[in-house]
Amino acid sequence: MLQDTPTDKNPTSNDAVFRVRGLTKSYQMGEVQVDALRGIDLDLHRGEFTVLLGASGSGKSTLLNILGGLDTPTTGSVYYREHDITHANEAELTEYRRDHVGFVFQFYNLIPSLTALENVAVVTEIAKSPMKPEEALALVGLQNRMHHFPAQLSGGEQQRIAIARAIAKKPEVLLCDEPTGALDSKTGIVVLEALQRINQELGTTTAVITHNAGIAQMANRVVHLADGLISRIYTNESLVSPDQLSW
């Protein structure tokens, strides 16, 4: 098994935005214990576009949630720059998410009582230097759907709004859980282009979970997870632009 250790390939580890060491996460489900993560060591570097691949149940979402401060690990440490987020308290985690992180969830999780525009505004209103909600929607090609409620939008459209919502605050880290899962190739490319643009123009450190191995071609690095462990990591020498991806 190929194990990537920080010192191996990244001698300049001080530009790591995330430093994950010995991360485990178990869930107690009555009698049984589910080990979602069983010891992860990983660095994510500034401005890097990382793709996480792995079978269903391999622990991708769990890892991403912990990185985003949505969940706490069982053991191990996670540093965001110099901040230890495993030992951060509730208020610090809130500030961390508020100021630094953008999320795209596997199940979109839009607020049904708000229109597309307002779903984005809900985030920009508390962000430090966001873009305009309209701008964010334009980036995902939904400028003429701004006043629709989630129930009036297709699954793919809802997904794009979720992405607009995540990028609108111009976060330093963007964590996306299957952002293209529900999209056809054409809109999927629109979304990925938006993610890439954010990544390149703003230097946003981006991690994307996907089941679509093709997407890995546009990433700087690809991390494979299996059974709660990292099974493989590789760096792409040359990047493929989204519109060239084999879907």
């Binding site: 949505l70 969940d71 208020a91 998410r97 508020r98 839009l110 962000a127």
Partner: protein, 789 residues
Amino acid sequence: MLAMDKKLWRELWAMRSQALAIAMVIGSGVAIFIMSLSALDSLYETRERYYRSHHFGQVFSSLKRAPLAVIKHIEEIPGVDKIETRVISYVTLDIENFDEPVSAHLLSLPGSGSGSGLLNQIYLRDGRLIESGRDNEIIVAEKFAQAHGLKPGAKLAAIINGRRKILTVVGQALSPEYIYQIAPGAIFPDHRRYGILWMARKPLASAYDMDGGFNHITLTLAKNSNEQDVIDHLDEILKPYGGVGAIARKDQLSNRFLSEELKQLKTMATVFPIIFFGVAAFLLNVVVSRLISLQREQIAVLKAFGYSNSEVAWHYIKLVLMIVSVGVIAGIGTGIWMGNALSNLYTEFFSFPYMIYVLKPQVIVAAAVMSMVVAIVGTLYSVQRAVKLPPAQGMRPEQPTLYHRMLIERLGLQHWFAQPVRMIIRHIERRPVKALLTIIGISLACSIIMVSGFQKGAIDYMIEVQYGISQREDLIAIYTEPAPQRSLYSLRNIQGVEHVEGFRIVPARLQFEHRSYRTTINGIQPQSHLLHLLDTKLNKIEIPPQGVVLTDYLAKQLQIKPGELLDVEILEGNRPTVQVPMVGTAKQYLGSNAYMQVEALNQLLKEGNAISGARLKVDNRYQQQIYTDLKNMPRIAGVVEQRSSIRAFYDTMAQTILYFTGISTLLGAVIAFGVIYNSMRIALSERSRELASLRVLGFRRTEVAYILLGELALLTLIAIPIGWVFGYGLSFYMALQFDSDLYRVPLKLNLNIYASAALVIIVSSLISSAMIWRNLSHLDMVAVLKTKE
């Protein structure tokens, strides 16, 4: 507007009918709180101002006769401020077109004597004051004038010290002394048969041989004076002049009745709002926890994007506060309106010259703050729990509830029930606390409705016992002064009089250990047919030849037991103080009295065989003639006919009772509706998937409704009997609060009170069901099955 606020408004709008139902419950609590407290403050304030501006006395004493020179001594009592002496007499009146006996207190107009002050001034409503030298002019109490249509210029005849005199009405007035006007011995006002008249002092004094003298005195006190010291001094001075013992303002009859009324209002101002706020807290709790459980994921998302716990919590608290605000604002408006109406009702019922409506800002603030606090407390727990959840977990669907085997299944009784019934029972068993709270809410509604019925039932029963079972006479004739037994002959000789029993009444102070009470001792005939003293089972008891029987309430207040010796100070004649054994108690709802055999009483008084009046049983056919005959007897000061007084009382009370019955029924219905409708909406929201699935499987709307509404129907049916118990308890508590030496409120809840409370509950739940029925038709099968939960 911020996106979060838009979310708030839209969600509030989406749940508007539920929010409205809750706001109504809160509004009702606020309204009744403001209504009763503002009416209370208004009455206090009005009474206070009226007393002050019209110089209502602080100490009162009547006596037989004292020369005006005595005032000098009274002025010297430390603490006495102003003094007013008066001549007061009790007279019968002859009013055209009114054959029944009418009695009145005839008072010398304040200020026309030589007292130093000008106390108990009258408030002239209409007409003018008496011109000096006009001996036949009178001013009449407004209520009495209205009852008989006595406009200035009207004439009436009064039997003044045995002589018939024609008097001319020149004005209508009110007096702080007679805010509540009742005839001696009566308990209810009857403005047709009892009145207050004022006339110039001179003619009144000369008719009663009171020139240069007086038979009544009122004082006010200087600041920081000791009331009891003044009373003791005054009694000492007036003793030789037949003083019957002075009383303080708090014991003055009209003032006392008013105080009792205020006490009741206060009870209402506390008990009812507590119930309403309790129910509102419960409703908000269930509605908000449901809302929050529906929004688990949304909360997680907001938190994921950096909204803090307190921001999210505040978001939901804002929603709650918005609902509460609607209730509070509506409640304040309604409360002020109802408070005004109630104050006016009181102005009508009591004789106030005006009503100052007082709405203290702190009452409104208190109502608002209480509602807000109650609402927040009611919802804080679920808000907090939702907010505490780590976002990653919040985004995963909630763990499916663990099913337990029903109690009924464990008992092996499931085969007795059809499948839908099993679904109903299982659902109730799954959420026992909520089911319990729903039951409690509905029960409270039921109990509130019963309280209104209880008040009317209590009055009915009180009157039935007092005037149906205990007092059996048709008429009471009151003598001007005690007369020998044989005076009864002339009464017996009147045609149509079937039975006559004399009685003796003397004012007395009863004392046991350090507790004392001022009342009258009634001397009654042994084996009396017309006055039955009753035991607790309402059977007649006999008074032993020696000893005194006390009203049960009085015995309890004095803490005296049969066999113990009661100190009796007679406040009349040569005022002997004697010890009399207490030999028993009599159940009475009205008044606090003492009873002895008339002979035993007269022995105490050492006065021979005297009586103060007589009870008469008469043949109805001769009634009119009997009235006329009695009127013409100089010895008779007044005639009391309770039955018509009671009828009159019911007429005046009808409006008030209707008002209260109406209000509490409405309020009960609001609670019932609020609880039932909200429970149904939540059940609908919780089970819409399940129900939609059943619809997809081919169930009819009625069958689906049966499962949903059947649960609430079951809870309602369980709640009604519990509500009856609550209602009984609440009435019991209210009755206990209303008890005083003036009257005790019996707890008599007849069947139709129970029935009508149940009816209101059932109607409320039918209305809720009808509204839910509409929602059921909108059950979107496709949407419900598409969404994940």
